[in-house]
Point group: C2
Amino acid sequence: MKRIDQVKGTFDQDKDKRRTAPSEATVKRLPRYSRYLARLISGGTLRISSSALAEKMGVTASQIRQDLACFGDFGQQGYGYNVRYLHHKISRILGMTAGHRAVFVGMGDAARALLASPTFVRGDVLAVAVFGAEGVGEMAEYEMDDLKQVLPTLGATLAVLTCRQGAEDILKTLADAGIQGVLNYTNTPLVSPCGEMTVKNVYLDDPCLLLCYHMEKAREDVE
Amino acid sequence: MKRIDQVKGTFDQDKDKRRTAPSEATVKRLPRYSRYLARLISGGTLRISSSALAEKMGVTASQIRQDLACFGDFGQQGYGYNVRYLHHKISRILGMTAGHRAVFVGMGDAARALLASPTFVRGDVLAVAVFGAEGVGEMAEYEMDDLKQVLPTLGATLAVLTCRQGAEDILKTLADAGIQGVLNYTNTPLVSPCGEMTVKNVYLDDPCLLLCYHMEKAREDVE
DNA sequence: TAGATTGTTAATCGATTAACAATC
DNA sequence: TAGATTGTTAATCGATTAACAATC
């Protein structure tokens, strides 16, 4: 990476400018920005300043600008940010324009809930098939045993796991088939078996635990 | 707080020792620690050192000790931490011993998934009733219209929202009935109407968006 | 042009890590 | 006692905020 830039020399310096790499904290804020911008779009708002956005997001204007500047120059001095353009850019950064196709292994409640979320309803990620359970909507349905055979034909990039058992074996099969991302709602924490695959373990009661902590604290603060 | 301590003077200094307040980052790690400790308990492990725990959690031993030291002295020099004791302490910190009772407003897929999570299965939080939908397990069922009337009789501390509409009005009713915490799985972001209530908006597709971002990045890193 | 607001640099703040005395 | 490992203090690192020149 460094070497390529050195070869390119100063010529590309202004186009392909060196930016500070986004921190994980920055990345985690992007979905919230994206959601709010989507609201603004449906509300017909055309432009927004970093300070207006900051107020709505409960952060500082500086932080908004810093966060966005990691990825590019999306705004315009004296004007602010074009809502549609910014939303589009963030969608792109979040990989929502990559044409992801998802397969579901099992169809637990978490999977159903995910299918009802904006990302799937809008079709940013497309649900193409389900294995070992009844599908929802237009998804193709397959037996669990057909996973290995059918998977390579689906052009899927990510998988959603809500199966009751065998998650480890299934993960291996998914990796072999070139699946690049796995959302694991199973109670078995999984570790990616190879560098080409990213695995995210989701713990549905986490928000509940954090809520309870904050409730506890709120009570203490009163005392 | 400060004034009370000043009145107490140095007498209580060692008992009620001044600790650094836990950061939000620290709090967010607690559920993971708790989950892993629960696993160790069922596996029969009696003690664990900060360095062993750190390795499993993918953090440093320093961080483990700092995180825990915010809340108390849970370990013992030369020994490490007693697994059961530490798990119990973290449960307590996370408010899991507070006897929380939850009511469900609606019974969407997210609510169902939550009911199947360890927190509810273990009974750390008790599901007592559902309004406007069919219940699961032992929950009492009520019409949505009965919310205002029945709520005060249930002794509920928190509410889980998966209703299709009217979330804002319902929130008001919940607040009036003294509900202290709300998990909102609705697509309408909610803001707490009063200081006694903590509201947590949950966005189910967030993990999916972050996964897609990391997939994108993983691909770029290869190039 | 004047006003507004960005992208960016420097200053501050907070969180993580390293180191070590205390002590089981 | 010797070895292990904590709780804690100091050093480092990174993220947030403030400030401002660039510029639309």
